[in-house]
Amino acid sequence: MRIKEHPILEFERGKKIQFTFNGNVIVAYEGETIAAALHAAGIWHYNESDVLKRPRGLFCAIGHCSSCLMTVDGVPNTRICVTDAVDGMVIRSENRGDAK
């Protein structure tokens, strides 16, 4: 959910854009990271972990922890928490085990 009213901050949102995540259309605003847009859409569960198949989602949001890696426009292992959403992007969650 996007914050509409805040006592201190004002949010200037960019142009409305959309991308697909595992085939579903997600609405975002220019300037948002992919992770921010997914979070706003209520998507918290990104994938299953490599070995133990445990559910994983966003954790550090600054590109350090590796929990949010996804395939973005065909590029695997993209850190979606530091990658801005672009109109028309195709994003798929990945289980790194898939590649093996």
């Binding site: 490599d50 445990r54 954790f59 922890c65 590796s66 890696l69 292992n77």
Partner: protein
């Protein structure tokens, strides 16, 4: 406490149970544990797990945490594609 439900290394899915087992078996350096369990070899390069593993080693073996934390860092920091390396050369 279910040690197998406590994750120490998020990237490589290594649990506290695994780490404690290895330490008790005598693997008491970060390097050894990394080579066996792969923790620290994932995309985050040990940022989250290293301090936690060092603490476990110190707690079980009584070793000085300062000694445990000594480790090598090697470049590159972060993923680089071959294309990016080649583009950099083109610039030269």
């Amino acid at each position: 406490m279910r040690e197998d439900d406590i994750i120490i290394c998020r990237c490589e899915d290594v649990t506290l149970g695994t780490i404690r087992d290895l330490i008790r078996k005598g693997y008491t350096t970060l390097e050894e544990i990394k080579r066996i369990a792969r923790c620290g070899m994932g995309p985050c390069q040990g940022k989250t797990c290293t301090p936690l593993i060092a603490r476990e080693i110190a707690a079980i073996t009584g070793k000085d945490i300062h000694e445990i934390m000594k480790q090598n860092h090697r470049p590159p920091f972060g993923g680089v594609t071959f294309e990016e390396i080649v583009s950099g050369r083109d610039e030269e």
